[in-house]
């Protein structure tokens, strides 16, 4: 059992110290396969001055796998991922989370038995440190920290406009609000890069507009946002740059208008005959 004072995620120095120069995220020649099925093939990806970027592609193009490999859910077969100048390739997900990369999930993956507030509080997990003994004996430090975490989480819920839902079970919330709770939870990590996996999927038009506002707001707060999405009008409107994946490989990258008119992209979406 560890001492109450020690942090749960002791600063992990794997990959060297963080650098300030160079791109925020530099992915080079990233490959991943699942038992012979090539999910990603030598994908290069850089994130530097852009504020909001999108990754699009037909179903099964490897978009979610791309997020999963960068955020440490799967280790890549080949290639490297550098974040803030540090090599984070193949580190476990919980370590990468402490480095400043947060994510949401396509199917929300909230904690269904916890309330909206508790879900948001889970986002602050790495920013707090009370251990088993400190919480068990209700030490003053743990109680003070719990209050701070609750306040911070409530603020994050407020940022996505869900303060009034704080004490409801997330299982009872509608889809749009569940997605927002996922974003509030990710914000607790105080990330410099946020991956959103299909944030607009299943949302009504007015909800998508609100989501765009929210994402612009995050970008204004210096959080870079990388979106995986199918909703083309939304992507084309919001993105500074669009990357297109097809069958695990990058087939196009550029400004939204350029990508829209790219022949390879049109072919991959509409089939060979188009």
């Amino acid at each position: 059992m560890r001492a109450p004072g020690k942090t749960n995620n002791a600063q992990d120095t794997r990959g060297g110290p963080p650098g300030t120069d160079g791109p925020l995220l530099a992915v080079s020649e990233l490959s991943k396969d699942f038992g012979g099925i090539q999910a990603l093939t030598k994908v290069d990806f850089r994130l530097e001055d852009e504020r909001i970027v999108s990754i699009i592609g037909p179903n099964g193009a490897g978009k979610t796998t791309f997020i999963n490999v960068i955020t440490g859910r799967y280790a890549p077969k080949e290639g490297s991922v550098r974040f803030q100048g540090r090599d984070i390739t193949g580190l476990p997900a919980h370590v990468i989370a402490t480095r400043g990369i947060a994510r949401t999930f396509q199917l929300e993956e909230l904690f269904p038995t916890l309330s909206a507030l508790e879900n948001a509080m889970m986002g602050c997990h790495t920013k707090s440190r009370a251990g088993v003994l400190a919480t068990g004996f209700r030490l003053k430090s743990a109680r003070r920290e719990e209050k701070e975490v609750a306040e911070k989480a409530l603020k994050n819920l407020g940022r996505v406009g869900l303060e009034h839902r704080a004490h409801e079970s997330v299982a009872n919330l509608p889809l749009g609000e569940r997605k927002l709770v996922g974003i509030a939870r990710a914000l607790g990590l105080e990330p410099s890069l946020l991956f959103l996996d299909e944030p607009a999927g299943g949302l009504a038009a007015h909800e998508v507009d609100k989501l765009s506002e929210l994402i612009y707001g995050l970008a204004d707060r210096n959080i870079k946002v990388a979106i995986v999405e199918h909703n083309m009008p939304f992507v084309m409107k919001i993105s500074d740059r669009v990357t297109v994946l097809d069958k695990g490989a990058k087939i196009a990258e550029g400004l939204p208008d350029d990508v829209r008119n790219n022949e390879d992209v049109i072919r991959s979406y509409l089939g060979e005959d188009a």
């Binding site: 859910r73 989370a97 889970m122 088993v132």
Partner: protein, 334 residues
């Protein structure tokens, strides 16, 4: 702000503690007290195992072994006069902590049924070792000649001493586990039970947290085992096997594990139900043996699982919600 207070005492639990404190003064006989000592000791076991199974979702069946090791280590140290009983309790707890840590590092990689199978094997292995290693453990006949517990000059010689000791331990464990589950660690524990993928994505070190709750609950079981051995002043390997495991599962299922205190309630009900059955059916069924008890536990588990899947606490919560709704409806109609 409630979070500011140290004890955060719920009036209900204060009332329970006072009632337990006063019980020996009210009842004349030692019968009720001796049953209640068992309720407290087994309550610690049921509470800690319930937290592991229901709160953390780790289906470990090794709890009777931690209980047994706690009893044997403290008992052996006292019988051979290696350490005084109170120190033996601490040494046993440290020993069980280390053993559960080392085994947990490997076993907790297993998920679901696989963890259940591996820990069940551990249960069998421990009881075989306790039975076969005769020169140390006293073998199948059991360990005899355990002295009563004594701290300083005070000897725990009467039932009433063990009553207060065991309930102090039980309420302390209940308080501690409730706090853990209500705070940062407990939230993280519930989070990986709900979704490991999401839990990792917010930075929870799942293997480490699983190990912590595994060791914590094992140490609680060990403390209960040590108190048990000094109370009974005898232990034998057969106590810590399948029968005890089934009893514990009955308590957890009956009480319901969604609330931390559920298994303790289940423990209380199981013990008194058994006492009543023995008392009132003793004339009809003169041979009430452990086998008959096992049938009785089996029937309880099946009936509860079908009609009250949330156990007593789940059922009470549901009834409370209906009551609130009914009350709200009645006010609206006025």
């Amino acid at each position: 702000m409630r979070a500011e207070r140290f004890l955060q005492l719920n009036p209900f639990w204060v009332a329970v503690a006072i009632a337990l404190f006063l019980l020996p003064l009210v009842t004349g006989g030692s019968y009720i007290i001796s049953v209640m000592i068992f309720v407290a000791i087994y309550g610690v076991l049921a509470l800690s195992m319930g937290a592991l199974l229901e709160q953390a979702g780790l289906f470990s069946l090794a709890h009777p072994s931690w209980f047994g090791l706690g009893a044997y280590v403290a008992g052996i140290l006292a019988v051979r006069d290696i350490a005084p009983p109170w120190l033996g309790i601490i040494i046993a707890a440290v020993f069980v902590g280390i053993v559960s840590y080392l085994l947990g590092v490997g076993l907790l990689r297993l998920q679901g049924y696989y963890l259940a199978c591996a820990t069940f094997a551990l249960l069998l292995v421990v009881s075989i070792i306790l039975g076969q290693w005769g020169e140390v453990t006293g073998g199948h006949e059991g360990l005899m000649g355990i002295p009563p517990l004594s701290i300083g000059g005070f000897e725990f010689s009467e039932n009433i001493h063990y009553y207060y000791l065991s309930w102090a331990l039980c309420l302390l464990c209940l308080w501690f586990l409730t706090n853990v589950m209500a705070g940062r660690t407990g939230r993280a524990i519930k989070s990986f039970r709900d979704s490991e993928v999401a839990s990792q994505s917010v930075g929870v070190n799942i293997p480490r947290l699983k190990l912590q709750i595994f060791v914590l609950t094992a140490v609680m079981a060990s403390l209960a085992g040590s108190v048990y051995c000094f109370y009974i002043r005898f232990t034998m390997p057969d106590i810590f096997t399948l029968t005890l495991l089934i009893e514990l599962l009955t308590m957890i299922v009956l009480g319901g594990g969604k609330k931390v205190y559920g298994p303790l309630l289940g423990c209380l009900v199981v013990f008194w139900l058994r006492e009543f059955i023995h008392m009132y059916l003793g004339d009809i069924l003169p041979v009430l043996t452990a086998e008959v008890d096992a049938i009785f536990f089996g029937v309880i588990i099946i009936v509860i699982l079908i009609y009250m899947p949330g156990g007593l606490t789940g059922w009470m919560e549901q009834a409370g919600n209906w009551g609130k709704k009914f009350y709200a409806g009645a006010r609206k109609n006025k």
